[in-house]
């Protein structure tokens, strides 16, 4: 029995060491749109997540941080871009817009991101409504 337990602990240690701990926090107040052609993202690194609520509230990946102030939005995107590029990742704007919000809020975010040099944009969505 003891060799088996040894092996199990070794395997556990191996997977703990090699696992990829990066996770994207999901704002529960945002229901992304349906996009059947959406694909699994190539990398989770370099993502600059902006949540857009139905009423137009903008939140960072940590959805307790509001980004309604344009200066705060620009500072957040700039800092996230610098952090990503410092470790060799390509900064990519990830918009999690609620399916019922209107496009002007989304445009506001894209405009600020483009101004600070982020031109790769990904829109979050579900591939079906189930």
């Amino acid at each position: 029995m003891s060799p088996m337990i040894d092996m199990v602990f070794l395997l556990l240690l191996f997977f703990l060491v090699v696992s990829n701990p990066k996770t994207i926090k999901i704002d529960p107040d945002v229901t992304p749109p349906i996009a059947s052609a959406a694909r699994t993202p190539k990398s989770k690194y370099g993502k600059i997540v902006v949540n857009i609520h139905e009423n137009g509230d903008l939140r960072a990946e940590n959805f307790n941080v509001t980004l309604d102030d344009p200066d705060a939005l620009e500072a957040y995107i700039t800092k996230s871009k610098d952090d990503a590029e410092r470790v060799g990742h390509v900064a990519r704007l990830h918009i999690r817009g609620d399916q019922n919000t209107i496009f002007k809020y989304c445009r506001k975010v894209i405009r600020v991101a483009a101004r600070v040099g982020v031109t790769e944009v990904a829109f979050g969505g579900y591939i079906n409504d189930k």
Binding site: M1, P41, G97, Q99, F103, R107, I127
Partner: protein
């Protein structure tokens, strides 16, 4: 005094390890996690490369395909100097059966001339996000990722 050496079987020499308690705990943990786990819907990405938000000094080699999305969800197109034509008028439909073949034709024409298809989208400010994603979804399904939002420089 006679000494009687008692013969011990090999089984009695090895210390035993009772793992039934550990198995009980493991099953309890397993049941706990099965009961408390909520399956989260997995989100996917629609990737777009925005070439630029500033007006380009060098015009694109290929005439861009122009898509206009109105606030009521209507979608119109214009390509190669043709007049604007309404192609989709059902804002609740997630598929765009008229726009999709037109995009495929445009993509094939661009590929035939060894150029990358370029799409310009004008979206009215009050258009729903889901409708914008419907258009981007059609572009992704067609394999077009070079997209420009033409109104990015406008003030709100």
């Amino acid at each position: 005094m006679a000494r009687h050496k008692k013969m011990q079987s090999p089984d009695e020499d090895e210390p035993g390890l009772d793992i039934s308690s550990m198995i009980d705990v493991c099953f309890l943990l397993l049941i706990y996690f099965i009961v408390t786990t909520t399956i989260v819907k997995k989100e996917q990405d629609l990737d777009m490369a925005l070439p630029s938000v500033a007006p380009s000094e060098t015009p694109p080699e290929i005439s861009p395909f122009f898509i206009k999305l109105e606030a009521n969800g209507y979608i119109s197109i214009r390509s190669d100097g043709t007049p604007e034509q309404l192609v989709e008028s059902d804002p609740d439909s997630r598929v765009l059966p008229t726009l999709q073949p037109l995009l495929e034709t445009y993509r094939d024409a661009a590929m035939a001339s060894s150029q990358e298809p370029l799409v310009q989208i004008y979206v009215e400010a009050e258009a729903r996000q889901q409708r914008v994603i419907d258009v981007l979804n059609s572009l992704a399904a067609t394999g077009i990722s070079k997209v420009t939002f033409t109104d990015l420089l406008d003030e709100e």
